[in-house]
């Protein structure tokens, strides 16, 4: 199993930490992982993305241009990464602020209204976990017990009291994700 | 009576300290380096710290200082001695560390390292030989060359409009909170040698206190570079260097000395030397 994922959105949406939690969960499940952020001016321009690869084998390149899954959380990211999903792959987007819907017919497309839901429930801080939950519903590449361990490892000890809230958000995400176009 | 007849222990009035090696110094006759070396070596000997002293030599006339001091020594890249000494001291805090640098090394190419080592309050001793000229490369302008003073690269005398002012880095360093002792001495008379040696001793003793950097400038002559006899050079130094570079303590035990007024620190109009 090798899953190559790009997660992209605005800075502040928790894109990097979502990738880190996913990667750490993979480590806990004894898988090979890599986490490669965009850095530098691109980051300062307000958008942020990270490539996460989880595999049973040695990972070739942490930097790739085609992905099994793209998780895009704003319009710029959808525009930039829609065409990088491998045919038959998965595209997940949050409809909040989206003015141009994805158009590809050769990939599975799902949407998750995580921004809206998180605001409604007053849990904006764990918005990214709602999205992660949606992804894990479709591709359970790491077990939930390892997600728990991943949260423990990637959050500083002073934030460990927030783990239950994070896990709750993941569960909410699993129920929230809906198909737009499937193969 | 043959000369050798008087070489008897009871006639001995002076002997070279064992902290200097037997190597013959390459310095020009009349140069202050030999005397400066000797008083540093004597202080190391008298303090009994030969086995704990690490010296750093510069690029310049004293590049080969390591051949003359019988202590462990490093030869630094041009201007970098304060950075080199910083790490030696940080990693070997029980050692006594000193740099020995000329005006080009310390106050031109190495200005940044000098100021930052002083500003960090490194517990080292810096000995600064200021003779207002680049001796080793053949008498070019130094940052401390006086206004009007001739050199190989200021053949008609240093011009403020072209070359800027003589840099009084010693006064500048005294204003930094990281310096604990800042003084200017000379070694051109026996009385001055005694004072300079006391200053060197204080600068080394201060390392035990761990209160900051000790800086000893030795205003020195360069009779070869100045194209004078040693005696002329000493006289010229008294008449021209000292008014620009007044001798004496500037900062002692972390405090500016009482006679160091703002006017003394900031010399608005450096005195011009007319035709050396």
């Amino acid at each position: 199993m090798t899953e190559e994922i790009i997660i992209a959105g605005f800075g502040g949406q928790g894109v990097l930490s979502m990738g880190k939690i996913l990667a750490y969960s993979g480590v806990m499940e004894d898988k090979e992982v890599s986490w490669m952020p965009s850095y530098g001016p691109e980051q300062r321009g307000g958008t942020s993305n990270v490539t996460v690869i989880i595999s049973d084998e040695r990972i070739c390149s942490p930097i790739i241009s085609k992905y099994d899954t793209a998780i895009v959380l704003n319009q710029q990211s959808l525009d930039k990464f829609e065409n990088t999903v491998k045919p038959g792959g998965l595209l997940i987007y949050d409809p909040n602020g989206i003015t141009r819907e994805p158009t590809r017919k050769d990939v599975n497309i799902y949407k998750i209204a995580a921004t809206e839901k998180a605001q409604e429930m007053g849990i904006s801080k764990v918005f990214n976990m709602v999205v992660l939950g949606g992804f894990l519903k479709l591709k359970p590449i790491v077990g939930s017990e390892f997600i728990h361990k991943g949260l423990e490892k990637s959050l500083p000890a002073r934030h460990h009291n927030l783990i239950p809230q994070n896990e709750e958000a993941i569960e909410i995400g699993k129920g929230l994700i809906e198909a737009v176009h499937t193969l | 009576m043959a000369n050798l007849d008087i070489v008897k222990p009871e006639n001995l009035v002076y002997t070279k300290t064992k902290v200097l090696t037997d190597n013959v110094m390459h310095y020009c006759p009349g140069c202050g380096h030999g005397t400066a070396h000797r008083i540093i070596a004597e202080v190391i000997d008298e303090m009994g710290i030969q086995d704990k002293t690490i010296g750093v030599s510069p690029v310049g006339c004293s590049v080969l200082a390591y051949n003359y001091f019988d202590v462990d020594f490093q030869e630094a890249a041009h201007g970098r001695a304060p950075a080199v000494a910083t790490a030696i001291k940080r990693l070997n805090p029980d050692c006594f560390v000193f740099t020995y640098q000329g005006d080009g090394d310390l106050a031109a190419i190495g200005t940044a390292e000098t100021i930052h080592a002083a500003n960090r309050g490194e517990n080292i001793t810096m000995v600064f030989i200021n003779n207002g000229i680049y001796g080793m490369t053949g008498g070019q302008m130094a940052p401390t060359t006086l206004v009007g003073m001739k050199s190989a690269t200021t053949p008609y005398g240093r011009r403020v409009d072209l070359n800027g002012y003589p840099l009084r880095i010693t006064e500048l360093l005294a204003t930094l909170p990281g310096t604990y002792y800042v003084t200017r001495q000379s070694v051109h008379t026996p009385a001055n040698v005694r004072k300079a040696k006391a200053a060197i001793r204080k600068a080394f003793e201060n390392q035990k206190l761990q209160k900051g950097l000790s800086f000893v400038e030795i205003c020195s002559s360069c009779n070869s570079g100045w194209k004078m006899t040693p005696v002329q050079a000493n006289k010229w130094m008294e008449e021209n260097m000292f008014p620009n570079y007044p001798l004496g303590d500037i900062k002692v035990d972390g405090k500016l000395c009482e006679n160091i007024t703002a006017d003394r620190l900031v010399l608005d109009h450096p005195l011009t030397v007319v035709n050396k």
Partner: protein, 360 residues
Amino acid sequence: MAKELKLMKGNEAIARAMIASGTDGYFGYPITPQSEVMETLMAEKPWETTGMVVLQAESELASINMVYGGAATGKKVATSSSSPGISLMQEGLTYLAGAEIPCVIMNAMRGGPGLGTIQPAQSDYFQSVKGGGHGDYQLYTIAPSSVQEMYDFVFDAWDIAFKYRNPVLILTDGAIGQCMEKCYTRDFIPRWTEEERRQHAPWGTWGKPANRSHNIITSLELESSRQEVFNQKLQAKYREMEEKEVRFEALNCEDADYIFVAYGTSARICMKSMELARAKGLKVGLLRLITLYPFPKKQIAELAKKVKGMLCVEMSAGQMIEDVKLAANCSIPIEHYGRFGGIIPSPEEVLEAMEKEIVK
């Protein structure tokens, strides 16, 4: 500190490995994309645990000379920087090589020339292995291509540095520095005791005891005949390194018709390109260079007898290819493919270049 499995950035791995490998001092100056090295060290406060000294210098010029001063006392002293900072350090590096001072320097390469970009590049190859500073000297140059290697190579670097009394350059780039991967950390090696330091560095300036003559660290020799003898000694040392210390990884080279030659981030990309090629039925292998100096000349010469062509992939305009061509004696087609200025090539375009330029 015991062994542990952690997810960490390459830059963080360098810092943690320094602490774990008994490094005595780190002197650095912030520059993107490797500032996390000093940031990690400062956050870890190793001076409270191992006694390691960490200091932010006023410039790279100062930090490399602090390395000189500290390392010349026989202690393990390191620094890190990125391309423009490494350029500033060249004077210090040639002095370190000339005075035969063991030390470790990490360069997280970014795109140049000049201030360039902060994005990853591999355009400092020539600077790293062909001198950089003045004079005939070599830095042992080792190129990690994973976070684990970033960690492990710090340990290896100390062994080589002291074995040969030579500076070691860990040549990496912003991508590996910023990338997070699994990393197995090691048991801490304590910093050397006073006794051990004297044993490992009898030449060090740590204070002259009565029973030895004074140790002098210098690269100055005014007598040319003696300077020549010294240079011959240095060259003999380099030949010994070339003989004994070459490192590389050959992947799928046994049955390969075509070979990628790459190091660091480019090698990782080539691994993917190789996977794509094999899926298409192309017999492609990868020679991943680990040491860039000493360069695996013999291995390339042997491979050149077996394969039909080589593609050198480097995030530069083509620097490493010169050494590959020399080693292969231009006996087979050898081409370069590279992106530069901070652009990382995709595995697909690398494969396409292989098909276009070499397979044809």
